[in-house]
C-alpha cells in the first residue's frame, strides 16, 4: 500500500495542496522583499535596496515603547496563565467531579467568543477600577485570552504522563508536593514550554481587545502599527513585520523542537 507509485489523482491532490500552501504563505512572505525597497509606498515589485525603513523604526520612539508594552504584557500575562492553567489542567485530567465538562467548556470559551464583545465588556468593568490605559488592565485581559491555550497544552501533556511513575515515587515515600516537584513537573516541562511560547505569541499579537484598553501614552505594537498604517502606508511596516516574522520563526522552531507543532492542535 505504501510502496505503490503515486496515482494521477494523488499527484493532482498534491498539486492542489501546494497551491493552498502558496495561498497561505504568500501574504506572509511578501512583506520581506518590500522591507528593503527604496520606494516610499508599498509598490510591487520593490525597486532598489535600502535599509532606511529599518532605520526609520529606530527613529520613531513610539515603536520601541509599544514593543516594550507588548513584551511586558505578554510575559506577565503568560506567567499568570501558566500557573493558573497548569493547576486547572491537573484538576481536569486527574479528577472527576460534577460539572467538569461544562466548566472545561467555559474555560475554553475565550477561544471563540466574539473578540469585540469581550473587548467592550472588559473596558466597561476595568474603567471604574481605574485600570483603563494601564499595563495591569491589559494583563487582566490577556490572561483570559491566553488561558485556553495554556490549559489545552497542559491537558494534552498531562494526559500522556505515565501515572505509574508518580505512584512509584509515592510508594518510595515522597509526599504529594515532592512527587509533583521532582516527577510530574519535569515530565510536563516540554509541553509547558510550548504552551508558554504559544501564549506569548497570542498575547503579543492581540489586537481587538487591546484596542479598547489602550490610549494615548500606552500602545501595544499591533495597535501602533495599525495607527501608523492609517496615515502612512510605507515600507516601515513591512520592516517591522520582517522583524516580527524572524521572532515568530524562532518561536516555531522552539515549539517544533520541544513537542512538535502538530500536537498543539490535535
Amino acid at each position: 500500500m505504501t510502496a505503490s507509485p503515486p496515482r494521477p489523482g494523488e499527484r493532482l491532490l498534491a498539486g492542489y495542496v501546494g497551491l493552498v500552501l502558496l495561498f497561505l504563505a504568500l501574504p506572509v512572505l511578501i512583506v520581506i522583499p518590500l522591507a528593503f525597497s527604496t520606494d516610499a509606498s508599498l509598490i510591487f515589485p520593490p525597486r532598489g535596496f535600502s535599509l532606511k525603513w529599518f532605520a526609520n523604526i529606530l527613529e520613531r520612539p513610539e515603536f520601541a515603547s509599544a514593543f516594550r508594552v507588548s513584551a511586558t504584557v505578554a510575559v506577565v500575562a503568560t506567567s499568570i496563565s501558566l500557573v493558573v492553567g497548569t493547576l486547572a489542567a491537573l484538576a481536569f485530567v486527574r479528577y472527576r467531579f460534577p460539572g467538569r465538562d461544562t466548566l472545561l467548556l467555559v474555560f475554553m470559551t475565550p477561544l471563540i467568543f466574539p473578540a469585540i464583545v469581550l473587548a467592550a465588556a472588559l473596558a466597561l468593568v476595568l474603567s471604574p477600577l481605574g485600570l483603563l490605559r494601564s499595563i495591569a488592565g491589559l494583563v487582566c485581559a490577556h490572561v483570559v485570552l491566553t488561558l485556553p491555550y495554556m490549559l489545552r497544552t497542559a491537558i494534552a501533556t498531562l494526559s500522556e504522563i505515565d501515572r505509574s511513575l508518580e505512584e512509584a515515587a509515592q510508594t518510595l515515600g515522597a509526599n504529594r508536593w515532592r512527587t509533583f516537584r521532582h516527577v510530574t513537573l519535569p515530565l510536563l516541562r516540554p509541553g509547558l514550554l510550548a504552551g508558554i511560547t504559544f501564549s506569548l505569541i497570542i498575547s503579543f499579537d492581540e489586537f481587538t481587545v487591546s484596542m479598547f484598553l489602550v490610549g494615548p501614552g500606552l500602545m501595544t505594537l499591533p495597535l501602533e502599527m495599525y495607527n501608523y498604517s492609517e496615515f502612512t502606508l510605507d515600507p516601515t511596516l513591512a520592516a517591522i513585520s520582517t522583524i516580527l516574522l524572524g521572532l515568530t520563526t524562532i518561536a516555531i522552531v522552539v515549539i517544533e523542537k520541544l513537542v512538535g507543532l502538530g500536537r498543539q492542535f490535535s
Binding site: 489523482g9 494523488e10 492542489y16 495542496v17 493552498v20 500552501l21 497561505l24 504568500l26 501574504p27 506572509v28 511578501i30 512583506v31 509606498s41 508599498l42 509598490i43 510591487f44 492553567g85 493547576l87 486547572a88 484538576a91 479528577y95 467531579f97 466548566l103 467555559v106 474555560f107 470559551t109 475565550p110 477561544l111 471563540i112 467568543f113 466574539p114 473578540a115 469585540i116 464583545v117 469581550l118 467592550a120 465588556a121 472588559l122 473596558a123 466597561l124 468593568v125 487582566c140 483570559v144 488561558l147 499579537d205 489586537f207 481587538t208 484596542m211 479598547f212 495599525y226 498604517s229 502606508l233 511596516l237 513591512a238 513585520s241 515568530t248 516555531i252 507543532l261 502538530g262 498543539q264
Partner: protein
C-alpha cells in the same frame, strides 16, 4: 432502590478513608479556584455588566430598565443591513474555508508522502504570524500597485489597475486566509480517526471512488466539518481588523459598528445591545452544534 443501596455503601467507610475522600473532593476545587477567579472576573462578570448596560436607558446614570435599544438594533434598517452583512460574511467565509480546506485535510490525514510533515508546518505556521503583518501582506498583493496588478499589467491584460482592495470579497479573502488553518486541522483530526476498512468495504462491494466518498467517507467526516465551521463562523462574526483594513471603510460589520457606537458616539447602551445580539447569534450557532453532536453521537 439503587440510590438506597449506593447510599448505604457511602455511609460506612472508615474514618480515615472518609478523610482521604474529603481531601480528594476538595483538591479539584482548590486547583480550579484560580482559574474560576480569572474566568469569573475576566469573562462572566464583564459580559453580565454589558448585558446590564444594554438594558439601561442611559449610561452612565441609568433611570430605568428598558428594551428600547434592542428595538433599535433589531428594527433600524441601518443595523439590520449590518447584521445581515456580518452573518452573510461569516457564512460565505465558512463555506469557502470548508470547500478549500477539505482536500488539504484529506491529504494530511491520508497521504503517506514524506512531505506531509512540511505541509503540516505550512498550514500551522501562518496561525502564529501577527494579523497586522498578514493584513499588510494582503495590501501589498491587492493594492493598486500591488502584486496582482503588476502581474496583470506585465501580461498586458489590463491598462488601468483593478481596484481589488475595497469591498466584501477582499475581506472574504483575508478572513479565509486567517481561518483556513482552523478548518483544515478540525477536518483532518476527524478524517484521521475514520477506519479505512469502511471505504475498502464499499470499494469491494462495487462502489466507485466518488460514490464511496459521497456515501461513506463524507458522512463520517461531517463532525470535523461541523466543528471547524463553528470555530470559523464564531471568529468571523466578531472580527474587526480584517474588515477595517481590507474593506477600507466600505464593509461595515457588527464589530466595527459596536466600536463606533461605544467609542465614537459614546452610546454604550445601543452598542451593548448590538454586542448582545452578536453574542446571541454566536450562542445559537454553538447550540445548534451541540444538538448536532448529540444526535450524531447517538447514531
Amino acid at each position: 432502590m439503587s440510590t438506597a443501596v449506593s447510599g448505604s455503601t457511602d455511609a460506612v467507610p472508615m474514618a480515615s478513608q472518609r478523610r482521604v475522600r474529603d481531601v480528594s473532593r476538595l483538591m479539584p476545587l482548590a486547583l480550579l479556584a484560580p482559574g474560576i477567579v480569572v474566568i469569573g472576573l475576566g469573562l462572566v462578570w464583564p459580559i453580565a455588566a454589558m448585558l446590564a448596560v444594554s438594558l439601561q436607558d442611559k449610561f452612565p446614570d441609568a433611570t430605568r430598565v428598558t428594551l428600547e435599544h434592542y428595538g433599535t438594533v433589531l428594527s433600524d434598517p441601518y443595523f439590520l443591513r449590518i447584521i445581515g452583512r456580518t452573518f452573510a460574511l461569516a457564512t460565505v467565509v465558512t463555506v469557502i474555508a470548508a470547500l478549500v480546506g477539505y482536500p488539504v485535510a484529506w491529504y494530511l490525514a491520508r497521504s503517506n508522502s514524506r512531505w506531509k510533515h512540511l505541509v503540516f508546518l505550512g498550514v500551522i505556521a501562518p496561525l502564529m504570524v501577527s494579523i497586522i503583518v498578514r493584513m499588510i501582506g494582503w495590501t501589498i498583493i491587492l493594492g493598486n500597485e500591488g502584486l496582482i496588478n503588476a502581474v496583470l499589467r506585465a501580461l498586458g491584460a489590463i491598462d488601468e489597475p483593478l481596484r481589488l482592495m475595497q469591498g466584501f470579497w477582499s475581506v472574504v479573502l483575508g478572513l479565509v486566509h486567517i481561518l483556513l488553518p482552523f478548518m483544515i486541522l478540525s477536518i483532518a483530526a476527524v478524517l484521521g480517526k475514520i477506519d479505512r476498512s469502511y471505504a475498502e468495504a464499499a470499494n469491494i462491494l462495487g462502489a466507485n471512488p466518488v460514490r464511496t466518498f459521497l456515501s461513506v467517507t463524507l458522512p463520517l467526516s461531517v463532525q470535523g466539518i461541523a466543528s471547524g465551521s463553528v470555530i470559523v463562523f464564531c471568529i468571523s462574526v466578531g472580527v474587526f481588523v480584517t474588515p477595517i483594513m481590507l474593506g477600507r471603510g466600505q464593509v461595515a460589520v457588527l464589530a466595527i459598528t459596536i466600536q463606533e457606537q461605544m467609542v465614537v458616539l459614546v452610546d454604550w447602551p445601543t452598542g451593548a445591545a448590538a454586542a448582545m445580539v452578536l453574542t446571541a447569534g454566536t450562542l445559537v450557532v454553538l447550540g445548534l452544534y451541540g444538538m448536532f453532536i448529540r444526535r450524531h453521537a447517538r447514531r
